[in-house]
Assembly symmetry: C2
Homo-oligomer: 225 residues x 2
DNA sequence: GCATTTCATTGCGTATGCATTAAATGATGC
DNA sequence: GCATCATTTAATGCATACGCAATGAAATGC
């Protein structure tokens, strides 16, 4: 992340970004408790902007405020992941349907197809990080094309949570070589303006992904992430 | 709302509740701008707890922070309502499906059937407020039975938005006498453990409701609520 | 011992004041 | 008359201080 831009940022904004990073990097471990003053010291600022950032992160489901007990990084159980995937499944399928209805021109779908191509390359190179990155871009773009801003922000919130878990799960499973066929099917349906196929294909794809991940988490007893 | 309980509430909590009320009652009109200090004066407290409440309400999509321009009560266009209804449709249908899968005992479904009965009564009495109240309870309970906490909180957020609009639309349309048949069908499907019927019936019900409302808003040129 | 009360600690909630900065106003030059 | 820049104004962002209230420890009673 660009450190130069941060200089001219408000302290609350900086707190928000840096806390997010610390959460995603695992520097603030899931389930761990922290005091406002402790975080304020870490970030070299007073409690005020930290409180504001923490409040926002609570709203986003990343932190849990337990007065006098500590600010807790919310742990994710397999059940939580199931909940999250279920929401993602519904809302992304809706997005796929809407995107197909919208009859986008092929050039507007470029980022989508690029993401799919990148996943192919990543799989060929056995590059997990590149694959994860491209997969993110695919889903981000899909939801953007759906055109529902609320769906967009909810999906982004939930994807953040998934991202925390994926760090762990990504290295525990084989590369999803088959999943790109699904992606392409969804892409084609959107390009051809076929809402039902787009919706159903993506839905099945997501449902499948959900079972894989949740089983994996349960098998490895990853109760918290 | 219970004023006694509020006495022992933190100022931020009070700010949160009272601002919500002012927004829903229309005392703070959609599209209107307000200063932190202005709101603090209205609520008889300092800016600090107001800031915190405002931050949370921003996260819930009720307020929009525009530094040095004012805190704006977000206006809802017909397109916004469409977005919101689309999200509600997907997530409530999922909830209905899950509720049916869960095979709840009949006594656990009591609140659901009560809400349906109350709607019947309200319709017979031509009591709009009672109907709206029972309808709220039906949807709240449906989603609770679905058992997905994330779906729950998202649906509640979106329902808040719908409630703002309903104040207006409720008096512009005929009482939805037919809609209770749908509710009962959903109820039966859940009781009989038939996820697909529960899902599809509720989905159609919601899609239908969406068109009605959105058409109504568009026809009456209610660009903002 | 065990329960209960007291007390000290400390983390949080809130008020307050100052610093910052963006918007608005007026001044200056063209 | 218009554009640009300086100045003022005022709202926000942030640090700080203070008091309350909750927590845990120690002390007392049973």
């Amino acid at each position: 992340m660009n450190k130069v831009l941060r200089k001219q940022m408000s302290s609350s904004q900086r707190a928000l970004l840096e806390l997010r990073e610390k959460i995603f990097s695992g520097e603030l471990a899931p389930g761990s408790d922290h005091l406002e003053s402790e975080l304020a010291d870490q970030l070299n600022m007073s409690r005020t902007p930290v409180r504001e950032a923490v409040l926002m992160l609570e709203g986003q489901g990343l932190l849990e405020l337990r007065p006098r007990k500590g600010i807790r990084v919310v742990p994710l159980s397999p059940d939580d992941m199931q909940e999250i995937y279920d929401v993602l499944t519904e809302l992304e399928s809706l997005a796929a349907e809407c995107a197909a209805k919208a009859m986008h021109k092929e050039e507007d779908l470029r980022r989508l197809s690029n993401a799919i191509d990148d996943m192919d390359v990543a799989i060929a190179n056995n590059d997990l990080d590149a694959w994860a990155d491209a997969d993110d871009r695919f889903h981000t773009e899909l939801v953007r094309l759906g055109g529902n801003s609320r769906v967009n922000s909810i999906v982004h919130m939930m994807s953040d949570q998934v991202r925390r878990a994926r760090m762990t799960t990504l290295f525990m499973r084989p590369l999803p070589t088959k999943s790109n066929e699904d992606h392409r099917q969804v892409y084609d349906a959107i390009k051809n303006g076929d809402p039902q196929t787009a919706r159903n294909t993506h839905r099945d794809h997501r449902l499948h992904a959900k079972t894989i991940i949740v089983e994996l988490l349960k098998k490895h007893r990853l109760r918290f992430l």
